[in-house]
Amino acid sequence: MIAIVDSGGANITSIRFAFERLGVETALTACPKVIQQASHVILPGVGAAQDAMVRLEQHGLCDTLRSLTQPVLGICLGMQLLYDYSEEGDTACLGILPGRIKALPAQPGITVPHMGWNTLQQQQGSPLLKGIADNRYVYFVHGFIAPVTEHSCATSHHGQTFTAITQKDNFFGAQFHPERSGAAGAQILKNFYEAC
C-alpha cells in the first residue's frame, strides 16, 4: 500500500487517481504510524514551501519522513521539500538531499512559472527511468528549481538546467507531475511502485 502524505496540497486527488489507473491502492494520511508502515510513500505538494513545512511540522511528520527506509517519492514541491533549504519564503526544508532551491528567473523568451511539457535529459540510471527513452516529455509546473548535483538522475532545461529527477538512497524526487504526464508519467509511477 502506498501512503500519500496529506500535506494539505490540492494535487492529491490526481495522484490517487493515477495509482488507481495502475491498480495500486493508496491511502491519504497524515498519521506517522500509517506512513511508517506503508510499502511506499508519496510526498505531494502544491503551494508554497513555507506553508507546506509548517503543515508537516504541525502533524509531527518531519522526523517521521527523515527516518523512513522504504521508497519515498516527492512530487513537485514535495521534491523540493526534500532538500536543505528553499529560497521560497526563506524556508528550512527536510535536509534529506543536499542543496538549496532557488527561484527560476524570467528572461526574454523564458516565461515563469515554467509551465508545460518539457523533456527529461537522463544523467544517470535510476529505477524510476526504467523503460523511459531519453528526451521524453513530461508536464512541469513550478517557479523554483533544484540544483544539479551528484544526485540528479535527470535534468530539464528552461532558461537554465535544473534537476527533474533526483535520488539519494531510498528518497526519490520528481520536479514534474508524473500523474499528469501521459504514458511516460504513468511508467514512472509504475516504476516507483514496482522497481524501487
Binding site: A10, N11, I12, T13, S14, F17, A18, E20, R21, V46, G47, A48, L77, A106, G109, I110, T111, V112, P113, H114, M115, G116, W117, N118, T119, Y137, Y139, V141, H142, G143, H157, H158, H177, E179, R180, S181, G182, A183, G185, A186
Partner: protein, 255 residues
C-alpha cells in the same frame, strides 16, 4: 525545450460540451468524458473545461464531472466558471482539477487572485481575460458567458495583464473577442502586444480555423499555448495532424 501547447477548450453546460459562435447560439457537441479521452488520445497537451453558465448564474462547476475527468485522463486540465472564493476553488482542485481559471470574479475582486495564489500556489491560478478591441485600444469585458449580461469594463487589457501578474497569477488566457468563433485566425497583433507586457505563460484564444493560424500565433506572437474549440470539435483539424504540421515548421511540440 518547453513545447508549445495545443489546448482544446470544452464549453460545458449542464454536464455536456456545447459550442456557440461569439458566445451565442450554444449547441451540444458531445459528452464531456468521451471528448476528454478522445482529445487526450489525439495528443492534446492540456484541456480547459469552461462551465459557461456557472459564472453568470453565481454557482460553481459541479465537482462530480471534474472528478470523473480526473479519474480517466493523465494530462493536466483546468476548470473555469463561477470560481469566486477560496472554498469554490478548493472544491474544484480537490475534485482533481490541476488549475482553476478565474475571469469575472477577479475583475470584481482582484485580491481574489492573490488569495488563491497564497492558498493553492501560483501555478494553479489562471486568469482568463476577455479582451475586445475598441477604437485603437483593447478593453476587458466581463460576464461574457451570457449575451444579456456581458459588458465592457473601463479596464485596459494591458493594465489588467500587468495587474494580474503582480497579484500572483500563474498564467494568462487571452481571449480576443473580435476574433472568437469566426475562425479567421488568432489576433496576432494583440497577442504580440500582450506578450511584451508579461513574463507569465500566455495562452492565445479566439479565432483558430486552420493549421496555419496555429503556426502564426506561435511564431509571430510567441505565445506558450493555443486554445481552440470548434476547429477541434468539428473533427476537421485532428490534433495529431496539427502537431505534425507544426513540427515541420520547426515549432517545438510534444508528439
Amino acid at each position: 525545450m518547453l513545447a508549445k501547447r495545443i489546448i482544446p477548450c470544452l464549453d460545458v453546460r449542464d454536464g455536456q460540451v456545447v459550442k456557440g459562435v461569439r458566445f451565442r447560439e450554444h449547441r451540444v457537441v458531445g459528452d464531456i468524458i468521451e471528448l476528454a479521452q478522445r482529445y487526450q488520445q489525439a495528443g492534446a497537451d492540456e484541456l480547459v473545461f469552461y462551465d459557461i453558465t456557472a459564472s453568470t448564474q453565481a454557482r460553481t462547476a459541479d465537482p462530480a464531472w471534474i472528478s470523473a475527468i480526473a479519474r480517466v485522463i493523465d494530462i493536466p486540465f483546468c476548470v473555469a466558471g463561477g470560481i469566486r472564493d477560496i472554498e469554490s476553488a478548493r472544491t474544484i482542485l480537490h475534485a482533481g482539477a490541476d488549475k482553476i481559471s478565474i475571469n469575472s470574479p477577479a475583475l470584481e475582486n482582484p485580491d481574489l487572485i492573490s488569495a488563491l495564489a497564497r492558498t493553492f500556489g501560483q501555478q494553479c491560478v489562471v486568469v482568463g481575460i476577455d479582451s475586445h478591441q475598441t477604437d485603437n485600444d483593447y478593453y476587458v469585458h466581463q460576464y461574457t458567458g451570457d449575451e444579456s449580461t456581458q459588458r465592457a469594463t473601463a479596464r485596459r487589457t494591458f493594465d489588467w495583464v500587468k495587474e494580474v501578474e503582480s497579484l500572483g497569477a500563474g498564467e494568462i488566457v487571452l481571449n480576443c473577442m473580435n476574433q472568437d468563433g469566426v475562425r479567421e485566425g488568432y489576433d496576432i497583433a494583440q497577442l504580440h502586444a500582450v506578450r511584451q507586457q508579461t513574463s507569465l505563460p500566455l495562452i492565445a484564444s479566439g479565432g483558430a480555423g486552420s493549421q496555419d493560424h496555429f503556426a502564426q500565433v506561435f511564431t509571430q506572437a510567441d505565445v506558450d499555448g493555443a486554445l481552440a474549440a470548434s476547429v477541434f470539435h468539428s473533427g476537421e483539424l485532428p490534433i495529431s495532424d496539427l502537431k505534425q504540421f507544426l513540427a515541420e515548421q520547426n515549432i517545438e511540440v510534444r508528439q
